[in-house]
């Protein structure tokens, strides 16, 4: 008996030792030997790295008007396993979601293969619609709550959803552009991932984007966050706001006048740029064809291009300002120096003028836009020196404006020129430039010879309002002497007179300086066409103290036969823009118009505020 009891006790003890040794072994294995492995496995199941999304910065005009900003939206998702009646639920939410009931029902009825059992079961994550406005999302949440069984109410077996969580909402943001198509090419847009792909959205991506934050969180077995177990955390750094040099008041004027002109002339493309010549700030930039930034789907690629910087065109006679400024700057001629213009036809290079001139002054060469006179000025300079001046004015290289996709234009070096190139390039042939290059070159004449970097971004400020970066005026180089530029400027004032080629560019009350351009286009075979022109006008006002330089350019305008000239098509558009812009900017008039129609010039200095 005693032996039996003792043996039982021994067996029991031995059994317990074995069992507890097993437990201990497992404990040591779990807690010590394979601790790291199990910890990481547990972490993988329960710990998530939650991304805290940074808000993209806004884009504003010079006065702080929002041009691009974010709007919170939701992505509506459904858990079909919690929906009892797909058809009824689809009928409830189809209206607010603006999705056909049948399409919605098809989405909700989707079945997926279970990873654990291998059986087909309702899908637990179905994206119903993206970019749903907050108000609609709230409406849907209320519908889902009403369709679920009420906690305190009587149990109804016929509830449409078994839980309000059948519908979920994921936070998202979309980029909105309050002005629609205004300034579309400059602003650009973002892709589906919120990254800038065009315009300022792209060039200022690194400032606008910000930096996402993160937080390590643990979830319980039903997926709820266990807040006390939050781990490492870093706040998101929101993107900076980008302030442009664009003045939306001027932009609106430009867009309206351009739209009117486009309706009238139906050109292939058209561009208008306004620039402040003292700083290089771009005040307005509009291009046609354009598109609505908020409705981009289906917009052809050609409409998305910012032709002010991506398209190159022969500048035509507007290029004569470079030739004249170079000749004057080199002191080869004076404004009153007489040049023989071959009575309208220069035999050796087969160059014609629109009207025959014998001897005319350098100033008159610009005023009358004499091709032969300009070619002779360039010939005096010589190939190399003329080429250097052309390069100095910024042709043949990118201006460096903070917009993506800019091209440098075409300007061949002298060793690639033909014998007559020296007579063609001075009048804007055999050379191709972007509209921005032309307006930048004219700004250099307007400000006394300083080529400035065109600025589109004025400053970058962070979310607290502190300035992160400022973009002051940046002089690239001096391109001509001040005296030469003043002489060219005086000649350009005469261009916009009744004797000049751009009398329709005149702005009542102001002295305007400018130059017209009319370039024939080439066909596919490289031959000059006689019905396709690039017509332009580039000028500034007030001529002696310019507030802005403006360029109007039309590619293949449908004007009446014999009227497709820069002075007849582009100049009047400049005049209307100039008049409205002068009024908008509050510019003081520089000439008085008397009741009899005669004009009296006013000294600009007397018009400044005392």
């Amino acid at each position: 008996m005693r032996t039996t009891a003792r043996s039982r006790a021994l067996v029991t003890c031995f059994g317990m030792v074995v069992v507890f040794t097993g437990f201990s072994y497992r404990l040591i294995q779990v807690q010590v030997a394979r601790a790291d492995e199990f910890t990481s496995e547990a972490a993988a199941k329960h710990v998530n790295k939650q991304i805290i999304h940074a808000r993209r910065g806004t884009i504003q005009d010079a006065h702080g008007e929002a041009l691009a900003q974010n709007e919170p939206v939701k992505t509506v998702v459904a858990d079909a396993s919690l929906i009892n009646d797909h058809e009824a639920f689809a009928a409830l939410i189809a209206g607010p979601l603006e999705i056909p009931e049948t399409v919605l029902n098809g989405k909700l009825a989707r079945m997926v293969k279970s990873k654990s059992t291998g059986n087909l079961e309702p899908c637990r994550y179905i994206v119903l619609k993206k970019d749903v406005p907050e108000t609609t999302a709230n409406q849907i949440a209320q519908i889902a709550a009403a369709a679920a069984p009420q906690p305190k109410g009587p149990k109804s077996p016929k509830s449409v959803v078994s839980n309000p969580d059948a519908i979920g909402f994921e936070q998202d943001f979309i980029r909105v552009y309050p002005n629609g198509s205004l300034l579309c090419h400059v602003l650009g847009y973002t892709n589906g991932e919120g990254l800038g792909v065009e315009g300022v959205e792209r060039s200022m991506e690194q400032h606008l984007r910000g930096e996402n934050g993160f937080r390590f969180i643990e979830r319980d077995r039903i997926g709820r966050e266990i807040v006390p177990y939050r781990g490492q955390e870093r706040d998101a750094r929101n993107g900076c706001d980008v302030r442009l040099t664009i003045d939306m008041g001027l932009q609106n004027i430009v867009e309206q006048e351009l739209q009117t002109a486009v309706k009238l002339y139906r050109p292939k493309s058209a561009t208008v740029i306004l620039m402040r010549p003292q700083t290089g700030e771009i005040l307005a930039m509009a291009t046609r064809p354009n598109f609505d930034l908020n409705k981009q789907s289906g917009v052809p690629e050609q409409n998305r291009r910012n032709r002010a910087i991506t398209d190159i065109l022969e500048p035509g006679s507007t290029f004569k300002i470079v030739t004249t400024a170079a000749a004057l700057s080199e002191r080869l001629v004076k404004p009153e120096t007489m040049i023989y213009c071959e009575n309208g036809y220069w035999e050796w290079c087969k160059l014609k003028d629109h009207h025959p001139y014998a001897e005319i002054s350098v100033s008159d060469i610009l005023m009358r836009s004499s091709n032969i006179g300009t070619a002779k000025l360039a010939a005096q300079l010589g190939d190399q020196r003329f080429y250097e001046y052309t390069r100095k004015f910024g042709f043949g290289e990118r201006t460096g404006v903070a917009l993506p996709g800019e091209v440098g234009g075409i300007l061949h070096p002298p060793h690639l020129w033909s014998k007559i190139s020296i007579t063609r390039i001075p009048m804007g042939q055999e050379v191709a430039a972007t509209p921005l290059q032309v307006v930048t070159a004219m700004a250099a004449i307007a400000n006394g010879g300083r080529l400035l970097l065109p600025q589109i971004v004025s400053e970058i400020v962070d979310e607290s309002g502190a300035t992160v970066a400022r973009f002051p005026a940046q002089e690239v180089r001096r391109v001509a002497s001040q005296k030469a530029c003043e002489a060219v400027s005086e000649a350009l004032i005469r261009v916009v007179s009744k004797k000049g080629t751009a009398q329709f560019a005149a702005v009542p009350g102001y002295d305007v300086a400018g130059k017209t351009g009319t370039a024939q286009k080439y066909d596919e075979n490289g031959k000059v066409t006689h019905d396709k022109y690039v017509v332009s006008f580039v000028g500034y006002l007030p001529a002696r103290d310019p507030a802005f330089v403006g360029l109007v350019i039309f590619d293949e305008a449908h004007a009446k036969p014999g009227e497709n000239y820069g002075g007849l098509v582009a100049a009047p558009v400049f005049s209307r823009i100039g008049e409205r812009a002068a009024r908008y900017l509050g510019l003081k008039p520089t000439r008085i118009e008397l009741p009899d129609g005669s004009k009296v010039a006013v000294d600009a200095s007397t018009l400044r505020d005392q």
Binding site: E134, N179, Q256
Partner: protein
């Protein structure tokens, strides 16, 4: 007999019981306290989460309102409203616009000033 009985009576170690009782009580209180603290922590966590959600909702509403204000006050929207006559502003015709230089000082009276009236010219 009675002497024997007294000799064999077991003494109760009250002090020891009391010590263990205090230790047990302390352990209970500590355990319950721990549970209470944990509970509080989770309740506070839940409240933090709710507040965070409310804050996010408020921020979103604010963003939506800002976007709406920007939309309504945008140049394009104002121009459209002006064109359709929603903004009750009378369009000033060109013949009624005179831009003139306002010379400062009292001596400006009766002086000739620069004037531009492009519309009136037509």
């Amino acid at each position: 007999m009675s002497t024997n009985k007294r000799r064999h009576a077991n003494s109760v170690p009250i002090a020891s019981f009391a010590t263990w009782a205090v230790i047990g009580l302390f352990a209970c209180v500590a355990g319950l306290g721990y549970v209470w603290c944990k509970n509080q922590l989770h309740t506070t966590g839940g409240r933090i989460k709710t507040l965070e959600r409310e804050l996010t909702d408020l921020r979103n509403k604010n963003e939506v309102a800002r976007a709406h204000i920007a939309q309504l006050s945008s140049t394009k929207s104002l121009q459209d409203r002006f064109d359709t006559g929603f903004i009750k502003l009378a369009k000033i015709t060109d013949d009624r616009i005179v831009t003139m230089h306002q010379k400062a000082g009292a001596e400006a009276i009766n002086e000739l000033r620069a004037v531009s009236n492009p519309g009136g010219r037509k």
